[in-house]
Structure formats: structure tokens, C-alpha cells
């Protein structure tokens, strides 16, 4: 039985598309977990959802305009929205969760409206469904997609490591940081840009509806058990990668939808970590 499983896996690994999916899946899981802690604590847990809907809306616009390279429109548009939400949004009358909800639902509705009116495809609701839930797009990646993902992930990780201490300071106490000379505006801008890049990347993997799960679950699981910002960050990155790898393998072997399977593994991990947190107390 075990041998069979290994053989099946080996068989699958001969295909390029499976290897691509594993590489991209693990990189996206790693990136999306990095800022999870910050977003959860800043009460922006749902920003993944909101921004991915915006990306979906822009994708619809790009489709209507007939752009061949939709990324050229999606990436800047999503980054702009993230900046508006995270940076400018802090001092406006419509705060955090309400602003995210408005933008999220609005972009989703308008995107669907545009698609249903102008799309040339015969199966609009099918297209929409696979955009929202990820569908099979991760199994149809081209080598260029993989390289774009690798480069962007490396950039995200490097930026995160270089700005780790500043992100900590800005997340823990923004007014103290600003008062003592940290350029909080700049760092909030950097956080917003990283978040937008991660979300556009992650749309390929789990689809826009499940991105929040990738951002939130590993961070919350790690926070059950660990006590320092550093250990929580490291743990949530490792956990996210492990869950993504397990979920992908399971999805490939059993034939379940990739995005939902990864999220199911994340949920399982969260339950385990909650239990561990209750039983063992918290560790440094």
C-alpha cells in the first residue's frame, strides 16, 4: 500500500505541471504566512478576501478590454487598493473592516457584472467559480508563471527580512514608532505593497475566496503556542509550507480541489495547535 502510494507519487512527479504546482504552492504558502501575524493583529484579517476580489474585478475589466497580459493591470490596481486601505484608510471615516467589506463586495459584484455582459466564454459561471475557488489553474502553470512566482517570492522574503524589525515596531505600536522617529507611513506602504503582491500571486493557487485562509490560519495557529513575535513568525511560515505541501499531495493523489484541500489541512493544523496550546501552555 505504502509502496503503491510512493510509486503513484513518483509517477506524478515525472510531470512538469505537478512539479510546478508544488514549487508555486510552497512559495505562495510561505509568502502569505509572513504577513499574517501583522494583518491579524492590525485587524485586517479579511484584507486577503477584499484585495483578491478587487483583483478579480480588475481581471474582469482587463478581459473586457481584451488585454493579453492581464497582470499589467491587475498588479498595479491591487497594490493601489491595498495602499488606500492600509495607509490612507487608517485616518478616514470608514474604518478597517467596513472599508474592506465595501471594496470586497463591490469589486466582486462589478467584476461579475462585467463578465456576464461582455465575456466571450460560453461558461461564465464556471469561469467565475474557478477564479473564486482556484479550480485547476495551479495545475496548468507555464514555466514563465513559475519563474515570475519564484522571483516575486524571493523579493517578498528579502523585503520582509530586511524590514522585519520595522514591521514589528509599526504593528505593535504605531504611535510610539511615529513619535520616536520611525517613518511609519513608509513602512505601512511597504506592508501594503507586499500584501498586494502576495494576494495576486496566491489567486492562482487557492482562488480569491480562500486567500484569507492562507493568510490567517498559520498565524493564528502559531499564536496559540508561541510567545515571541519571532517564534510566531517562523512557526507560521513553517506550518504554512507544511500544510500547503500536504494539501497539494493529497489533492493530487485523491483528486480533490487544490485550494479547498490546503485550507482543510490548515484548519486541521489550527485545531491541533489550539489543543497543544491548551495542554502544554505557551512556549517561548
Amino acid at each position: 500500500m505504502n509502496l503503491n502510494l510512493l510509486q503513484t507519487l513518483q509517477m506524478y512527479f515525472q510531470y512538469d505541471y505537478v512539479r510546478y504546482a508544488i514549487i508555486v504552492g510552497i512559495l505562495i504558502a510561505l509568502c502569505s504566512s509572513l504577513l499574517g501575524v501583522t494583518l491579524v493583529l492590525k485587524r485586517f484579517s479579511f484584507i486577503g478576501d477584499g484585495l483578491s476580489h478587487v483583483a478579480f474585478g480588475i481581471m474582469a475589466v482587463a478581459g473586457v478590454l481584451g488585454l493579453t497580459n492581464q497582470m499589467l493591470l491587475i498588479m498595479p490596481g491591487t497594490i493601489l487598493t491595498a495602499v488606500l486601505l492600509l495607509r490612507v484608510g487608517q485616518n478616514t471615516k470608514i474604518k478597517g473592516d467596513a472599508a474592506v467589506a465595501m471594496i470586497s463586495v463591490g469589486a466582486l459584484a462589478l467584476g461579475y457584472l462585467l463578465l456576464s455582459k461582455f465575456s466571450t466564454s460560453a461558461n461564465v459561471s464556471g469561469d467565475v467559480c474557478s477564479t473564486l475557488f482556484g479550480g485547476t489553474s495551479i495545475l496548468t502553470l507555464k514555466p514563465t508563471d513559475v519563474w515570475v512566482c519564484i522571483v516575486l517570492s524571493v523579493v517578498v522574503v528579502i523585503v520582509f527580512v530586511l524590514f522585519y524589525h520595522k514591521i514589528f515596531a509599526v504593528t505593535f505600536d504605531e504611535s510610539f514608532a511615529a513619535a520616536t522617529g520611525t517613518k511609519t507611513g513608509l513602512y505601512n506602504l511597504i506592508i501594503a505593497v507586499i500584501v498586494a503582491v502576495i494576494i495576486v500571486l496566491a489567486m492562482n493557487l487557492v482562488g480569491s475566496l480562500l486567500i484569507s485562509a492562507l493568510v490567517v490560519f498559520p498565524a493564528l495557529s502559531a499564536m496559540r503556542v508561541f510567545k515571541s513575535f519571532k517564534s510566531v513568525t517562523i512557526c507560521s511560515a513553517c506550518l504554512s509550507v507544511a500544510c500547503a505541501a500536504l494539501g497539494l499531495l493529497f489533492a493530487i493523489l485523491v483528486g480533490t480541489p487544490v485550494g479547498s484541500t490546503i485550507v482543510a489541512v490548515d484548519i486541521l493544523a489550527f485545531l491541533l495547535f489550539s489543543l497543544a496550546g491548551l495542554v502544554g501552555g505557551r512556549r517561548a
Binding site: 493583529l41 513575535f229 519571532k230
Partner: protein
């Protein structure tokens, strides 16, 4: 030369003025208490001094070796911090962040300064503990140690004893007094606690309908001061 001089300040936000004609100055080693009713603009004044808000009118100048972004600040606790996973050491060290500019990592000196301030606040045994598991008094010591990492000469404290029990409150006041009297650190404190303000402060700034700025002795001769002092005694 004064460390901090505010002239003819008008404060408010979104164009609404809540306070005007405010002038005062703080010299090295002073202990200034800012008192006044809720909503009189105490916190806005503090944020203006720190450069988080621009004043509607008037000027704030710093001198005597003080730079505006080297004022140590002890803010009121926010909701975010109550469930923040961070160790005491990480938080104290983050007090050094303002000086780092674009440099990404902390230096040996930063770390040594963090440890020195952890010892100064007597919280070394807590250094690896999680901030959210500490008592209110311990958390204030952590934030005070962080503020000391950001400054050499001036602390701004926003209601430092709110929510603390009487014994811990007294300890906190003693800690602040020691920093002021023994180490010569200038203290500016927002307080509701009139009795403590009159006991520890060298200067009082009362804001609200009647503005007052002067030494504690001068304040005790005003009507408001007498009323408050009387209340304090009646309450005992």
C-alpha cells in the same frame, strides 16, 4: 535654554479648534503634570508635542540638546497590544528603532541599551516572557523601559497609572520620581490623579476653560488649585 517651548499653540483636529493661546516651557529636570477635564485636549496636546499632529497655530521648539523624535513616549495601551505575541525583550528593543533609519538590524549597542533599561526597570526575570501574560504594572514597566531606549532626556507619559491597583500605582509613581530626581530625566505626564500631580510635580499645566501654567506652589494659590487640593484632602 528650555528643552521644550510651546508658544501660542492652538490645537484641534480636522479644523475644529479645541484649545488656543497655550504657551508654556519645560526645562531640563522639570516634572510637569498636565491636568484638565476629559475632552479638554490633553491627549491632543501630547500628540502635538510628539509631532503626531500638526498644531493649528503657534510653534513648538525644542532645545538644550533635545530633538523632537528623541522624546520617550509611554502611550496608553491599545487593544492591539493586549493579544500581541511578543516577548518583553523584543518590545524593549523596539524602542531603539527610531534611531535606526533605514538600517535593517539592531546593533550590539542597541541590544546592550535594551538590557540596561530592562535592568533599570527591574524586569530581567520577565525578559523572555510574553507581554500579554504580564500584569498591568509589569506591562507599564516594559513600556517604560522601551521609552527609555528612545530617549536620554525626556519622557512623556500618558496616564501611566490608569487601570493599576493602588500598590502598583504607588510603585509606578516612585519609579517615575526616581528617574526624574536621580537621573535628571525631564517628565511630562498627563494625569487624572490630581493628588499625585500635586505631590510629585514641580510644574502644573491646567488646560480647559481656564488655562494655567506655573509651578506647583503658584497653582495651589489659584482657585482651581485650591478647590482640587481641598477635594484631595476631603477624599482622604
Amino acid at each position: 535654554m528650555a528643552q521644550l517651548r510651546c508658544e501660542n499653540l492652538a490645537l484641534g483636529y480636522e479644523g475644529k479648534e479645541i484649545l488656543s493661546g497655550l504657551s508654556f516651557q519645560v526645562n531640563r529636570g522639570d516634572y510637569l503634570c498636565i491636568v484638565g477635564e476629559n475632552g479638554s485636549g490633553k491627549s491632543t496636546l501630547m500628540k502635538t508635542i510628539l509631532g503626531l499632529h500638526a498644531p493649528l497655530a503657534g510653534t513648538i521648539t525644542t532645545g538644550d540638546g533635545l530633538v523632537q523624535n528623541q522624546i520617550g513616549y509611554l502611550p496608553q495601551q491599545t487593544m492591539v497590544q493586549r493579544d500581541f505575541p511578543a516577548s518583553v525583550y523584543e518590545i524593549v528593543l523596539s524602542g531603539c528603532q527610531g534611531r535606526k533609519g533605514l538600517r535593517p538590524f539592531y546593533s550590539k549597542q542597541d541590544k546592550a541599551l535594551a538590557w540596561a533599561n530592562i535592568d533599570r526597570m527591574n524586569i530581567r526575570p520577565l525578559a523572555r516572557r510574553c507581554y500579554r501574560e504580564l500584569s498591568g504594572g509589569q506591562q507599564q514597566r516594559v513600556l517604560l523601559a522601551r521609552a527609555l531606549c528612545a530617549t536620554r532626556s525626556m519622557l512623556l507619559l500618558d496616564e501611566p497609572v490608569s487601570g493599576l491597583d493602588p500598590r502598583v500605582t504607588a510603585e509606578m509613581y516612585q519609579l517615575i520620581l526616581d528617574l526624574n530626581r536621580q537621573e535628571g530625566i525631564t517628565v511630562i505626564m498627563i494625569s487624572h490623579d490630581m493628588e499625585a500631580a500635586l505631590r510629585y510635580a514641580t510644574h502644573i499645566l491646567h488646560i480647559g476653560r481656564h488655562l494655567f501654567f506655573g509651578t506647583r506652589q503658584e497653582y495651589l494659590r489659584t482657585d482651581t488649585g485650591r478647590a482640587f487640593a481641598g477635594e484631595g484632602r476631603a477624599a482622604q
